[in-house]
């Protein structure tokens, strides 16, 4: 983390005038210092947990709450907070309400996962890694230059690997190794792109991307698409997210993939010529993910494929993606935590044994939100995204919304009863309900962000979509017995797919961005 070594520099002496973004209004100095302290806090706390294992959970929770408080400050900033450390080639930070949404998601999901794990006897090592992961994800949401982003993404890879491999079983190690391998190879391509940006601008800031050679855009895009689990490049994601332990899956799906998505959105907002590419990938991944999800017979794999698809909604309309990312993070982590407590992972077996009603209610609330049902903030987010689509995106995204509702009808129509037979009823820990309170409560309260969505026209459309989806579910997909091949998820195909993806991105860049 040598990008943070400039902490003790007096802020006033920084050569602000040489920054590429110097034209933007400068924020006050206390806010700058606060930001740096906030970025450093989780990394510092992570190491303190190693030294003082006894206060592990409290400290980790405190860090998450501090992030939540900080993100609230961002929503009330009059102007985007932007400043750089060192010279023009140094670390650049950019914080505005968009990053506020992502940071808030990160804070809530981390807090919920810590509460969920409170009584499970996880070692201090687990909490230390989780805190470091939280900090590096925060750093990825705060920075505005390619090298800080690189460092943040690589620290995320390492911390996520250690969390995935926490059970130390052969399978978990292989899944983690596969993740680390794929993301590290992608980041090597990304590094090549980053140096090309530097060569033209003598700075690594995002804003230099438009003047950089076209190859730079293609290489950086490839790295971020793989890291963010988008489209074909994201096929590593289903196995990784479904084979990890539930709390780790919740973290990975809820926030970690968004560290790859956020820079894509940020670039699309800064540079209008890149915007269509990001939107195309949004529609593509939304349809690809949902096509797999509707035929999936395994609960956790369905959730993982739905993550691939939901990221598409975030990318499809970058200017409003922050709110969607927040609702998706809350929904997906609550779903992963709930599904981890079901007696089986297979839908076929779950049809035979009724699940506990209280669990079903949690599951249904989250499923309704992700399908876009009114009263939950998934509705507002979907309305806002649909409103900001370009005309050519509308059909694809509505199809994806329909597919999502079909996929989650599988959860809503699971049989349930008040007192299931003794054999399946593992007692639920109080930590589980605390986590649900944070996530689902957040989901209800987040309605306030976009309450203008509640008009008759807006309410009728999702109800119609959900209605059609349930009919389709009953008539077709409940009986359908299609097994999609998993060959594309093999390790060598993932790496090979990366080269195909590179060709595709190159073609897109040369065809669209060049003119």
């Amino acid at each position: 983390m040598n990008s943070l070594t400039s902490l003790d520099l007096p802020m006033a002496s920084l050569p602000m005038a040489s920054l590429p973004m110097a034209s933007l209004p400068m924020a006050s100095l206390p806010m700058n210092s606060l930001t740096i302290a906030w970025v450093a806090l989780p990394l510092f706390a992570g190491f303190v947990i190693y030294l003082m294992p006894r206060i592990d959970r409290g400290l980790a929770l405190g860090v998450a709450l501090a992030s939540a408080a900080y993100s609230m400050l961002l929503f009330f900033q009059p102007a985007p907070l932007t400043f750089g450390l060192l010279d023009r080639f140094g670390v650049t930070l950019l914080l505005d309400p968009l990053s506020g949404f992502f940071i808030f998601t990160n804070a809530l999901v981390t807090a919920a996962v810590i509460l969920y794990c409170w009584e499970t006897g996880k070692s201090a090592f687990f909490y230390a890694q989780m805190t470091i992961l939280h900090g590096s994800v925060n750093a990825a949401f705060a920075c505005a230059d390619f090298i800080s982003l690189y460092v943040a993404l690589e620290v995320i890879s390492i911390a996520a690997f250690l969390l995935i491999a926490y059970p130390r079983s052969d399978r978990s190690i292989w899944v983690g190794l596969r993740y680390l391998f794929v993301s590290n190879t992608a980041m090597l391509f990304y590094l090549m792109g980053a140096v090309l940006v530097y060569q033209t601008n003598h700075s690594f800031a995002y804003s230099g991307l438009s003047r950089a050679p076209l190859e730079a855009i293609a290489l950086i895009f490839l790295g971020l698409l793989v890291k963010g689990g988008v489209f074909v490049a994201g096929l590593w994601l289903p196995l990784t997210h479904s084979e990890s332990e539930s709390p780790v899956s919740a973290l990975l799906s809820g926030v970690v993939v968004k560290a790859g998505i956020y820079p894509l959105m940020r670039c699309a907002l800064l540079l209008p010529e890149i915007d269509p590419m990001v939107r195309v990938f949004g529609v593509g991944t939304a349809l690809l993910g949902v096509a797999y999800a509707v035929f999936e017979k395994d609960t956790k794999r369905l959730l993982a494929f739905s993550t691939v698809s939901q990221l598409g909604f975030v990318l499809a309309a970058p200017e409003v993606g922050g709110f969607y990312a927040l609702t998706h993070g809350l929904v997906k982590s609550s779903l992963f935590l709930t599904v981890g407590n079901l007696p089986s992972r297979s839908f076929k077996e779950l049809q035979q044994m009724p699940i506990r009603r209280s669990l079903w209610i949690a599951l249904a609330i989250a499923s309704f939100s992700i399908s876009g049902f009114p009263l939950l903030s998934g509705f507002g987010a979907k309305v806002l995204t649909m409103k900001s689509l370009l005309p050519w995106q509308v059909v694809g995204m509505n199809l994806a919304a329909l597919g999502t509702a079909i996929a989650f009808a599988k959860f809503i129509f699971l049989p349930h009863c008040q007192f299931p037979p003794e054999s399946q009823s593992r007692s639920l820990k109080p930590g589980f309900w605390a986590a649900m309170l944070v996530l689902l409560g957040g989901l209800v309260l987040a309605n306030a962000v976009y309450y203008e969505a509640y008009t008759v026209e807006n309410v009728v459309k999702p109800l119609l979509i959900i209605g059609i989806a349930w009919i389709a579910h009953k008539l077709i997909f409940q009986q359908a017995n299609v097994k999609l091949p998993r060959a594309a998820e093999k390790f060598e195909h993932l790496i090979g797919g990366m080269s195909l993806m590179l060709i595709l991105v190159f073609w897109m860049v040369f065809a669209w961005v060049a003119n």
């Binding site: 040598n2 990008s3 080639f89 090298i147 690189y150 460092v151 690589e154 620290v155 890879s157 390492i158 690997f161 250690l162 491999a165 130390r168 052969d170 399978r171 190690i173 292989w174 899944v175 983690g176 190794l177 680390l180 391998f181 590290n184 190879t185 090597l188 590094l191 090549m192 140096v195 530097y198 060569q199 003598h202 690594f204 196995l239 084979e243 998993r486 093999k490 390790f491 060598e492 790496i495 090979g496 080269s499």
Partner: protein
Amino acid sequence: MLEAFVFATILCGFFGIVYKQNLVMKIISMDVMSTGVVAYYVLIASRDGLKTPILSEGLDGASVAYADPVPQAVILTAIVIGFSIQALMLVGVMKLARENPTLETREIEKGNTP
């Protein structure tokens, strides 16, 4: 010319990751690829000059063609990160080697995918 060699190194590493069967060979291929990327940074840093960018007495900065220190400093970070990731991977491979002594990727994958 040098640039072509650098790209050849990167491609060799990339194809090694795809075509080598053994997990350790794959990791070494990845190292070859990252060596190529490091060399590319060094190459770009030396576009404007080759001298070490350290100011010393009797030399004034304007007349000497210095190498650009920024890409070199940045790639130092990347080397350290790459090194730690490889160390982590090799520890994982050691653990896997107990059950799969041949370390054939396909065998490991078959045994560990549902």
